[in-house]
Symmetry: C2
Subunit: 146 residues, 2 copies
């Protein structure tokens, strides 16, 4: 598993939108400024997130982005996998992989499978609602109002 800048930005963006959930859309420029993400790069990321139905948008004045689902219904794992791909450290772990001549007997394969499982156990059980609570706890100055 490798978290790229794009993935990191996506997660932070969704957390920000989670913090504003229910308070109307947030414009790209505000997200960009608050999260310190290049605006044009963020535009692309948001379009991706929109296509995956994590967020929804409204154009024109009073437009912007908002979460398409409740923060408690979006997990860290879902977003990470969507942006940065499979969490497996190596492709052969995948059931449908056929590139390895003796995948069944390979001792490494089963270990990378264990690694994947332990990672999944963590990130698939954390929602953005959880993250929001944590960040409110640890960061007093965290701005979760509009």
């Amino acid at each position: 598993m490798k978290i790229t800048y794009k993935g990191d930005y996506a997660l932070k963006t969704i957390l920000d939108l989670a913090a504003h959930f229910g308070n109307g859309p947030v414009v790209i420029n505000d997200l960009s400024r608050r999260l310190d993400i290049p605006t044009k790069f963020l535009e692309q990321i948001l379009l991706d997130l929109k296509r995956a139905h994590f967020v929804e948008s409204k154009r024109g004045k009073i437009g912007g982005y908002s979460l398409a689902r409740h923060p408690g219904q979006i997990t860290l794992g879902e977003v990470t996998r969507f942006i940065d791909g499979p969490i497996e450290p190596i492709a052969c772990v995948d059931k449908r992989y056929s590139g390895c001549h003796d995948a069944g007997a390979c001792v490494f394969r089963s270990i990378w499978g264990q690694v994947s499982s332990s990672t999944a156990k963590i990130i698939d059980n954390i929602t953005f609602e959880d993250l929001l609570k944590r960040s409110k706890r640890t960061n007093k100055s965290f701005n979760y109002q509009i």
Copy 2:
């Protein structure tokens, strides 16, 4: 964490050398053929592994490579980190990282830290002796003699 071809090849090479531990050196060509690794690429990998003192070599006739330490003294984690770098999914997890303006308050950082720890717990507790035993169990045709 991402296992590259180079890392995968390195691990398989060390496992093969572990299987031949104590029986004199193994030549690159045999490793290359047995493990299906491009010879010239394997040469480079072995030189890297030699510089890190995982393996040692002997030149000329009756030369080749052998493990520099007992298979029980080399962990999967050590080799993986050496070839493919840190296991952390993102650089900010590292204590010495200073690129993030609010690393202390970042909820993601602590989660990627958990992911790293759970991965480390697995790969740092498996030696090539363990792997050898496992592969002997699961693969009857595994050739661990010279």
